[in-house]
Subunit: 505 residues, 2 copies
Amino acid sequence: MSTDKIQQTANDFVTYVRKMKQLHEAIQLIQWDMSVLIPKQGVAQRAEVVGMLSSELFMMQISDQMGEFLEVLAQPEALSQLDPITRNSVLDRKLEYDRDKSIPPDKFREYVVLTQKAESAWAEAKQNNDFEMFRPYLEQIVALLGEFIEIWGYQDNKYDTLLNKYEPGLTVAKLDVIFGNLREKTIDLLQRIQQKEQVNRSFLHLSYPKDQQQKYSRYMLNQLGFDFSKGHFEESPHPFAVGLNPNDVRITTFYFENDITASLFGTIHEFGHAIYEQNVSHDLIGTFLCTGTSMGIHESQSRFWENMLGRSQEFWQHHFDGLVSHFPEQLAGVSAEEFYKAVNYVDPSLIRVDADELTYNLHIMLRYEIEKDLINGKIQVKDLPEIWAQKMEEYLGVRPESHATGVLQDIHWSGGAFGYFSSYSLGNIYAAQLENTMRKELPDYQEQVARGDVSQVLAWLNRKVYKHGKMLTPGEIMVQATGEEINSDYLVTYLEEKFKKIYGI
Amino acid sequence: MSTDKIQQTANDFVTYVRKMKQLHEAIQLIQWDMSVLIPKQGVAQRAEVVGMLSSELFMMQISDQMGEFLEVLAQPEALSQLDPITRNSVLDRKLEYDRDKSIPPDKFREYVVLTQKAESAWAEAKQNNDFEMFRPYLEQIVALLGEFIEIWGYQDNKYDTLLNKYEPGLTVAKLDVIFGNLREKTIDLLQRIQQKEQVNRSFLHLSYPKDQQQKYSRYMLNQLGFDFSKGHFEESPHPFAVGLNPNDVRITTFYFENDITASLFGTIHEFGHAIYEQNVSHDLIGTFLCTGTSMGIHESQSRFWENMLGRSQEFWQHHFDGLVSHFPEQLAGVSAEEFYKAVNYVDPSLIRVDADELTYNLHIMLRYEIEKDLINGKIQVKDLPEIWAQKMEEYLGVRPESHATGVLQDIHWSGGAFGYFSSYSLGNIYAAQLENTMRKELPDYQEQVARGDVSQVLAWLNRKVYKHGKMLTPGEIMVQATGEEINSDYLVTYLEEKFKKIYGI
């Protein structure tokens, strides 16, 4: 193959992918609008617009044209001649192409229709607290995913194939070790905490008017250095972040008038996602590498900013006065120390999204174990409610009295997102591991935070994580940044040190 | 040609056009976002997304596929077999196809690039008050439009071809009569008003805080019956309305803290556009007929709601108390009658967008005459500043002292939008003509308005105008609704009756 031919094909490929990415950006913007401000009656028609554009994008991804590009460019001889960004872009598109192209179109359509129906069925089942309404859909989803895994192939464990969709390189073998260690230590720590007196957190649940919370959220974003010239902040029922491109990253939050923590830490959490997206290298614009490298690494940033920084003593040493000046009546007589302890309470409960920093991971591990066993045929869908309840009791000491607060609480499975849940705990694990290295390389970072200065923290994370986008895999990020592969010891140490001190253990 | 073949082609055509319309809706939404809330640094990248989608849409419009559809469906034999909506959709697309396809691609690209450059040049020229900076661009635009007219063809007057782009069926011959009558009577009335004492309007320019204006604008939209489940209301630097589809119509307004009238009447104006779009028949969704039939008829609705209804004595008879309750300090001691007179002041000024209801049309006619003479080669671009100043003095009695407040004040020409300005006055003329018939068919409509009830007015306009979308031409709308073609006598009568009473003539 001539160099000219390779170069010409590479140029055409770059142009083609840029167009795909523009289509993707249009879809993401329209979906943002649908989540945030579309008038109610406009949803149905807009969904058709999104459907049309998504179908166009999918057709471009699996087109003969794409096949021809990859046939030329994915050969070792060609790859070695490409610049690093184009090379990674080729490999990234090839992964998608092989995955999408291998599923027979009829099968894929069956899956799309099934998950659409399953989402409605799940919502109704949850509302009616009736697992049987959802069961047949979930059974079909598990069966279809099983077929897909056979097509895509697997090495050691069928479930690896699904984990890899969200966290490239992750396996059951690794996760069993990582999670096993974390589970054991977490349950042990939890039991010791439960013998201690609960911290007072009643002042977090006084009346916090929405407009004051809005003002404070915006103030906090400014304090953290959110660049509003490259981002937008709005309210929405389900808080989320989306990076349309590094120059337009949008976050939302939701306000509960009897709970200041939801918008406060929700906003900082989404800030963590946003600051990642805003700092991805501009060189990657126009490729699908221009975003966070994986769900887990992304979550490590939201968790780092929300928990490790945002729930730290040093952080509130600096920010508590500003908070009190926004809510003088609600926080009258509360000290920074009391506030710090209150926002770090530990209290096992049924609902994952309401869980505290310590017990949250137990909710995730329960789901991981169930997914793994379902996909490997070791348990059956019909037994899930009982398995769920047993594990909740074993790990958290609480037992759901309804399906709605048990096995039906999350939307994820109805959309077929098996393998996704782990990302949340991977985020905590990555974050603690990164923080451990950061402390060595920036020994006084906590003093900086206590002075309200996060600029060096941000610069460090940018250098190690953000700017690379998808040019590095999660594994490469961790090894380059911390010198070792993922390791949950750091999270265990972090949790033990933090909560032993708070609870006087 | 077999009926089967026609039916099959028609089905494919309908599907094809639906996809085009969805693409168009996506583009409009992204542009709405760019006008309203996009972060500053996101604009450049988003412009590329819009460029890509617009180019896709244009390619679909002039594709061989479209050519084949039209070759089959635009034949009389086929047209007669189509349902009315598909028939009109075919004719509508054929008009676009013939227009777009006839321009050589190089020529079209030249025009797009030229107008893009011209817009920047205009902005700079206006800022520097330097007509010479803009002159060469305007000369090229006029020359290119001349070439396009030669390609598209014309019957009596070259300028007719441009008028028709915005107002199908309109000609210089008609407009000279309509505008001639209006100009003469307006100037006469204006001169008589200027001999009278000015009404007091100082209270409109006290301090009106933005948040109170926002609250009031929303309140007024509710009073008028704006359906927020099918629409959205936001702030933006340049107020506008866009109907993405009848179930998602968005309007914006802008707040001047020292002028309550801008947001008040601006909001009602955009409501007029919005209520039209929201009521277009749902049968037309998925076609380009699903919108207002022309710029002029659209403007008739914004002007009807803003001026004929929103600036009427009856309207404020009902709404003044609500306004006072929102602005008790600013309007202390002001009566409904004084307010009514104040918002109907007449006072010639240099800037079109700030003009009062009476003199506004003179600004338009000046532009109409200049455009017509430019396109017909009777005047030259280099002489525009002087011609502009002379006409301003002749019609309005004021003379611009700068280009920025004279010939450079509007953006329109830089984008090549010759033929567009007339729509604004056509709107006033149509509105008065419709109102005249409405008064006959709903004799007590003004009493209803005085009771705060606009439901019958809305139902009447819906029946006569809104629901038809583009299924009727502007001419058909007017003849069916009022029994005659466009006639500016009704506007003249309306203006004379209204202002003679206010100014005691």
